[in-house]
């Protein structure tokens, strides 16, 4: 039953009607077979009757020939030979027909073959008597008749024909019984087959009706429920489609603004590309300037090195001057000491040493001044040495600064090269941005067209949703009507 419940409606109908048709076909086949057998049996019955008729005709023909022979023998009148003549022709024809009709039965064929000889002998005896009557007269013919040979031949024929007729009667009896049995069977099949077929069709119809009522009722209930849900969904879809159409209109407006912005970006990107190209040209020019500046810095570096070398040489010379000045200072000091000692000696010499004292005093003054000048020169030299040291330090600092500046300028040149490369890359990128933005504008236009199409589709969807809602409402009414037809108690 569970398997039957899983069948589809078509399958159930096909199975039900198929089973009914199979019952009808079975009854028809059996009835046809029985009718066929009955007809065939009837043919065989007719065949047996034909054989028996032919056998009777054969005996009748023999009797006609014997009748003609007796009339002629008794009368001698040729007119009595007419049955004899017609009997001969009928015997030959009947024998030929018999051979045909019993050809399917070996026993009957064998009997027919065994029947030929006595018939020939009988016909020969009849011919002999007729010929004798005609030629020698009645006595001669009677003499032959009195031999009873003809009667013996005739008895043999009658016995064989009777045997064959009995056989045919047996066959008739058997076939009659078979025909009766077949008719009874046909009758039974028609009666019982009809009953069984009717019961089967009723049962199948009841089962199909019951199952279909339940399932179609359930399906109709589901359709009804689904129709309600679909109605709600169609309402939501209509509302959603309306909102979607509104949103798509807003999107279309936004995309138009985006398209305008995209075109502005494309124009800006074009200007950026032009500016970047101009920057790249300036960067190339600046690159040459940077190379020249780097060469100048290298020249400054070499000159600073020379200045440092000269300053160090100047410091060394200053040290040498200081050494010479030490000698001069020592000489001045010694001169001063000598002058003082000379003054002392001149004072000791009394009046005679006064002029020498003057000389000694002047020498001492000169030594003092030389000493003072030496101190001044020393101060100057120290100033020079300090200045040289300061200059050397400043120059070294400057040299280091030049080195650092050179390195920094190298870095700057490298950075400038990188900037130039990046500017070139920026130019390419700006061109790509310009191209991409143009493509983007084209794409946005296509999107705008697509959005317009979507808006149109949304509107159509809204209309379609309304139609769907209407259809669903009709379907709900239809399902209610269907349920009322199938299960009125559920439709209430």
């Amino acid at each position: 039953m569970s398997i039957f419940s899983n069948w589809t409606v078509g399958r159930r109908l096909v199975a039900g009607f198929g089973l009914s048709a199979l019952t009808v076909v079975l009854i028809a086949v059996v009835s046809y077979r029985n009718a066929y057998l009955l007809i065939e049996n009837d043919a065989w019955v007719a065949h047996s009757h034909e054989v028996r008729t032919k056998l009777a005709d054969l005996l009748s023909g023999l009797k006609d020939t014997e009748t003609g022979q007796r009339g002629y023998v008794l009368t001698g009148d040729e007119i009595y030979l007419a049955p004899y003549q017609s009997g001969l022709a009928a015997i030959q024809t009947t024998l030929a027909d018999l051979r045909k009709v019993v050809s399917d039965n070996p026993d009957q064929s064998r009997r027919l073959a065994k029947l030929t000889q006595p018939i020939d002998d009988k016909l020969a005896e009849l011919k002999q008597t007729i010929d004798l009557r005609r030629a020698e007269g009645f006595d001669a013919a009677l003499k032959v008749v009195l031999t009873n040979a003809g009667k013996a031949y005739m008895d043999q024929v009658r016995a064989i024909v009777a045997e064959a007729d009995q056989t045919e009667q047996d066959l008739l009896k058997r076939r009659t019984e078979e025909a009766r049995a077949s008719a009874d069977m046909t009758q039974m099949i028609i009666i019982w087959g009809g009953l069984i077929g009717m019961v089967t069709v009723c049962a199948i119809g009841w089962l199909i009706t019951r199952s279909l009522s339940e399932q179609i009722g359930a399906a109709v209930g589901q359709v009804r429920s689904s129709s309600t849900e679909l109605q709600s969904a169609a309402n939501q879809q209509a509302s959603g489609a309306k909102e979607q159409a509104t949103a798509m209109t807003e999107i279309s407006t936004t995309i138009n603004e985006l398209l305008a912005s995209s075109r502005q970006i494309a124009e800006s990107a074009q200007r950026v590309a032009h500016n970047a190209e101009a920057t790249a040209n300036a960067a190339r020019a600046g690159h040459g300037t940077v190379d020249m500046t780097q060469e100048s810095i290298s020249s400054i570096r070499r000159q600073v090195d020379q200045i440092v070398s000269h300053m160090l040489e100047l410091g060394k010379k200053s040290q040498e001057i200081g050494a010479v000045l030490d000698i001069v200072s020592e000489l001045a000091e010694q001169t001063n000491i000598l002058a003082i000692n000379a003054t002392i000696e001149a004072a000791g010499a009394g009046e005679a040493g006064k002029r020498f004292a003057v000389v000694a005093e002047e020498i001492r003054n000169l030594a003092d001044r030389v000493g003072g000048s030496t101190k001044e020169v020393r101060v100057l030299i120290e100033d020079v040495r300090s200045a040289v040291n300061t200059t050397v330090m400043a120059t070294e600092t400057g040299s280091k600064a030049v080195d650092a500046g050179s390195r920094q300028f190298g870095d700057l040149a490298s950075a400038f090269k990188q900037i130039a490369g990046l500017v070139a890359t920026t130019t390419d990128a700006a061109r790509e941005i310009e191209l991409s933005t143009k493509q983007q504008s084209t794409a946005v236009e296509q999107v705008n067209v697509a959005v317009a199409n979507v808006t149109q589709a949304s509107m159509e969807t809204e209309t379609s949703a309304g139609q769907t809602l209407q259809t669903v409402s009709q379907m709900a009414v239809l399902s209610k009507d269907l349920l009322r037809i199938i299960k009125p108690h559920m439709a209430a």
């Binding site: 000491i337 003082i340 002392i344 002029r355 003057v358 000389v359 005093e361 002047e362 001492r364 003092d368």
Partner: protein, 180 residues
């Protein structure tokens, strides 16, 4: 640079002119009395010595240390064929004695004695009124009874005969103490 060269040449010319003028000018007679002094420093203290009391000024003379009980006696040195004792003025003036032999030496006129000091600053020629009597404590006043006001400082004028006399007295006292 040109200005400095011309200034130097000007100074050289002034020096030459002063030198020539000194010999060209007549001998000054009857002029104001002026005193010659040596400006020195003992340790860091500026002092002065009358040139008339000095027999000679010497620098970088080799002084041979000798063992002595007198802290002021540094050693002996040779001056013009004579060996004289060398005393340090720091110890004489009551200051910390020299750790090394000072570079500058003066010999006294009155006795074969040399005095060592730290620095010779120059020659001073001052008028008589620039030298004034000293109002310092007794001991220093015995060695420097006067002071002179120079351009850069006020210097006590060491009196070498007094110092030499004090050294002689001290040596005499030591000799008397050392005799049995």
């Amino acid at each position: 640079m040109t200005g400095a060269s011309s200034q130097l040449a000007l100074r050289v010319a002034e020096l030459r002119a002063a030198f020539d003028r000194a010999f060209a000018a007549p001998v000054r007679t009857g002029a104001a009395v002026r005193h010659d002094l040596l400006a020195i420093r003992v340790d860091a203290e500026p002092c002065a010595i009358r040139l008339s009391e000095v027999g000679g000024l010497f620098a970088d003379r080799r002084v041979t240390p000798i063992p002595a009980s007198d802290a002021a006696l540094i050693g002996i040195a040779g001056f013009r064929g004579a060996i004289v004792p060398v005393y340090g003025l720091r110890a004489v003036l009551g200051q910390a004695p020299h750790q090394e032999v000072p570079r500058w030496l003066v010999t006294a006129v009155t006795a074969p004695v040399a005095l060592a000091f730290d620095l010779f600053e120059g020659h001073l020629r001052v008028p008589a009124d620039a030298i004034l009597p000293q109002q310092s404590p007794e001991r220093l006043r015995s060695y420097a009874p006067e002071f002179v006001r120079s351009a850069d400082a006020v210097r006590p004028v060491l009196h070498l005969p007094s110092i030499i006399a004090a050294l002689e007295n001290a040596r005499t006292v030591f000799s008397m103490r050392s005799e049995p």
